[in-house]
Amino acid sequence: MSISFTTIVKDPEGIHARPAGQIVKEAQRFSSDITVTAAGSDADAKRIFAVMGLGVKTGDTLTVRVSGDDEEQAAKEFESFLRETL
């Protein structure tokens, strides 16, 4: 099983170094696997180079897939975190 949701990036700079760091730190709090997809590329949300390498820009749609033991809580918290941060 896994949970998916999408969110649109509103930060005018996209996912630059600081938010990328925040995303990774947040993702690492959960045991579930968290995958972020943007413009057809996937990245493990717990890996900083992968997240930065997506090159997400403002207006891009992110699809997030969460799967694992704490997926329900992780999806809920990670989603509200993303909406607030990006």
Binding site: P12, G21, V24, R47, I48
Partner: protein, 547 residues
């Protein structure tokens, strides 16, 4: 012989002093074969551990010296050094190719740096420096004799006189370790407007030039030089005349700083008690910090064109909303007058698909586009109204020549407001609406126009061109296009009089507003507000307070 090197000026100001070249760190890393790959991996892990400890200390130092924002960068560095992809690459190289740890770290760093350099945002390209910085920390630890690490960094800075710091490029960790009281300016061979050197220089208020190129090298150590941050020029061994010239402009900048301290927070009131509001003109949201630093009482003209000029297609409502909201929030309760799109004439954008005109200044531009293509206008109006819930935003319409144009615009604004109400989207119901007075027609019709709107703002550049029938772009007309012409000044006076009769306020947002020879005239005719470029705010306040 004086020499002149050019780069990109990324932080303005002038510095004069001796250059200190920061020696480049280990450009070359030796590659050799190790016998025991597992032992080498263990050696790498010890160095990684030590580097992570150092980064934690740096984080705390950065938080203390520069604030939490800068400190977060070192959190990102720690994440990089723990990144599984990075570690797999380093350890994979050691075990498969039996190379030494230094080399494995170095080539991993280059591989990730190349990934950043290939990205299409200049900001992300500049992040290659972060990977290199983290990696060279590990390499330093690997190469240093035990217990000695950290020591050489402290020794790298000269004692004594303050200096101009020159380097290939500065790593973030180098920048936070600098003795800030000793640095006059930064000059680097590489780097961009987004590099750490640039960001740091601006936050410290020091002049900086980046991207000078390889001409900037170690031979310049100890050379006397001038850094001109606004022009992006580095002058080596300046002659007496040049030195004198720069010393005087440095004094003028100092004078401005002094003025800033003295006049900041003071009201703009003449000795007879007359008050003029001093606002700033801006062209993009990044200028707001400068507006606040110069103590503007508001923004009298926010040109929204940047949103259109910087895009490859019509900017979305969301994109515009975010830009306006950002400015609104930063300005708090101070007024922000945002001019709706003023494309056409000298500002052309390909995706608008405008025809080539023989006479663009008299052509299809500004409000004329908005009233002909309301679908474009509505996107901007929705964004503006939504942003008005977050600060004190006013809307200003450019190029008005008739009451009918204002009424038609107001009808479109009403439509948008009705839509927003129906969708339960918040906006400021009492948002002010004003017009630019920049055509002779609007001056003549000012008494009627004043009944339709909340304020006037006189655009003196276009008003001069249209009143005197002189093309602004034509150099030959210079002697005829005198903005001090009585015709222009009488136009201004007529506008102010009409505004006051109707009980609305009237400002000036053209270049003439900052003309100190006219300040007395403005006081005499009772101009309520002057909107000028941010650095002119305090000199103008000084003049008005002296009257």
């Amino acid at each position: 012989m004086m020499r002149r090197l050019r780069g990109t000026g990324v932080s303005s100001g002038i510095a004069i002093g001796r250059i200190h070249v920061l020696a480049a760190k280990h450009d070359e890393v030796q590659r050799y074969v190790v016998k025991d790959a597992d032992a080498e991996i263990a050696r790498f892990r010890r160095a990684q551990d030590r580097a992570l400890q150092q980064l934690k200390q740096l984080r705390d130092k950065a938080a203390k010296d520069f604030g939490e924002g800068k400190a977060e960068l070192f959190d990102t560095h720690q994440l990089m050094l723990r990144d599984p992809d990075y570690l797999e690459s380093v350890e994979g190289l050691i075990s498969s190719s039996k190379v030494n740890a230094e080399y494995a770290v170095h080539s991993t760093a280059e591989q990730f740096a190349a990934m950043f350099r290939a990205m299409d945002s200049s900001y992300m390209q500049a992040r290659a420096a972060d990977v290199r910085d983290v990696s060279s920390r590990v390499i330093d630890i690997l190469q240093a004799p035990a217990e000695a690490d950290g020591q050489q960094e402290a020794d790298a800075q000269p004692q004594g006189e303050p200096y101009i710091l020159a380097a290939q490029d500065l790593d973030p960790s180098e920048t936070v370790q600098l003795d800030r009281s000793k640095v006059l300016a930064f000059v680097t061979a590489e780097g961009s407007a987004n590099s750490h050197t640039s960001i740091l220089a601006r936050s410290m208020g020091l002049p900086a030039i980046v991207g000078i190129g390889d001409e900037l090298n170690e031979d310049f150590d100890g050379v006397y030089a001038i850094v001109d941050g606004s022009q992006g020029e580095l002058l080596l061994d300046p002659d007496a005349e040049t030195l004198h010239e720069y010393q005087s402009s440095q004094q003028r900048i100092e004078e401005h700083r002094r003025l800033l301290q003295e006049l900041k927070g003071k009201p703009t009131v003449s000795s007879s008690g007359q008050r003029i509001r001093l606002y700033a003109n801006i062209a993009n949201p990044e200028e707001v910090d400068n507006v606040l630093a110069n103590d503007a009482e508001g923004i009298g003209l926010f040109r929204s064109e940047f949103l259109y000029l910087e895009s490859e297609d019509f900017p979305t409502e969301e994109f515009q909303f975010n830009a306006y909201k950002q400015v609104a929030q930063k300005m708090g309760d101070r007024l922000i007058v945002i001019r709706t799109l003023d494309i056409g004439a000298d500002k052309q954008v390909a995706y608008f698909g405008l025809d080539k005109e023989d006479n663009p200044a008299l052509g299809y531009r500004a409000i004329r586009i908005c009233l002909t293509q309301p679908e474009i206008f509505k996107v901007q109006l929705r964004a503006l109204l939504r942003a008005s819930a977050f600060g004190n935003i006013a809307i200003m319409l450019p190029m008005i020549t008739s009451v009918d144009e204002v009424r038609r615009s107001k009808a479109i604004i009403e439509e948008v407001k009705t839509e927003l109400r129906a969708q339960d989207i918040e906006f400021n119901e009492g948002i002010q609406l004003g017009i630019m007075v920049e055509t002779p027609a609007s001056v003549v019709m000012a008494p009627e126009l004043a009944k339709e709107v909340d304020f006037f703002s006189i655009g003196t550049n276009d008003l001069t061109q249209y009143t005197l029938a002189c093309d602004r772009q034509n150099q030959k007309l210079h002697q005829f296009a005198d903005p001090h012409s009585p015709a222009v000044l009488r136009m201004i006076e007529m506008t102010v009089t009409a505004a006051h009769k109707a009980g609305i306020w009237c400002g000036i947002c053209g270049e003439l507003g900052a003309d100190l020879t006219l300040t007395d005239t403005y006081l005499r005719i009772g101009v309520d507000e002057l909107s000028v470029s941010a650095p002119m705010i305090l000199p103008l306040r000084g003049v008005i307070r002296g009257r």
